[in-house]
Amino acid sequence: MGCGCDDCEKMMQPYLDGVLSEEQIREAQEHLEGCPGCDKRFRFEERLRHFVRVAADEPMPEELKVRLAGLRTAG
């Protein structure tokens, strides 16, 4: 990885969160275009976030749904 990778690493989270300024986005994109190492790590991070969300998901037990409905005071 070449020059600017440290800065690019620091920009990864805010870049993917969409909270960088236009100038910072341009800066990051310029670096990513010329740096396959950083580009790959950014793509990995995007996939990782999705993987974490899916892996951490555990459906609610049906029986809890019934218990919650039983707590209703109205209707």
Partner: protein, 196 residues
Amino acid sequence: MSESAPTAAETRRIAEEARDRVRFEEEALQLSDQVYRVARRLTGSREEAEDLVQDTYARAFRSWRQFQPGTNLRAWLLRILTNLNIDRGRRVQRTPEQTPLEEGDYYLYNRLESTIPDENPDEERVLEQLSQNAVVEALAEVPHDFRDVLVLVDIGEFSYAEAAQILDIPVGTVMSRLHRGRRILKQQLAEKAVVS
């Protein structure tokens, strides 16, 4: 005749309130899957998550009048849930000051890539080194203050502003805890993936 008007108004008010209450309860119940998803990752076990969700709904149904119609019901429910969770004494556990300094954002990728014999593997191949269990275990290792934000934003898909409202902390704190929480999570994932 002069007394019938207030009675009619009163009757109408009671009917409207009953209708609002039914609507509130129905809308709250429709969100229960999302509430449970967050609860499950904030707590250590399924049983704890179930108790927490049940207590949250019991309290929500009791204090439904405090909810302002038109505002964010999902965030309102999660605010109750996170407060109940904190009341349960989980604050006696680790505080952020005691957490180790996390590695940089590329750390996990670099560690995983180093375990693959191929030259220059693509990111999909690198991700395959992680298991679902590793994610669940690694999340449980993230200290509470960071995990609350991480679970709300990255798993519950709440915005920064919503997470700030739920946890009653500034948006800037949400952002810094999220940033550090993700790094701590990745460090934990690296350890679990590379050891196992």
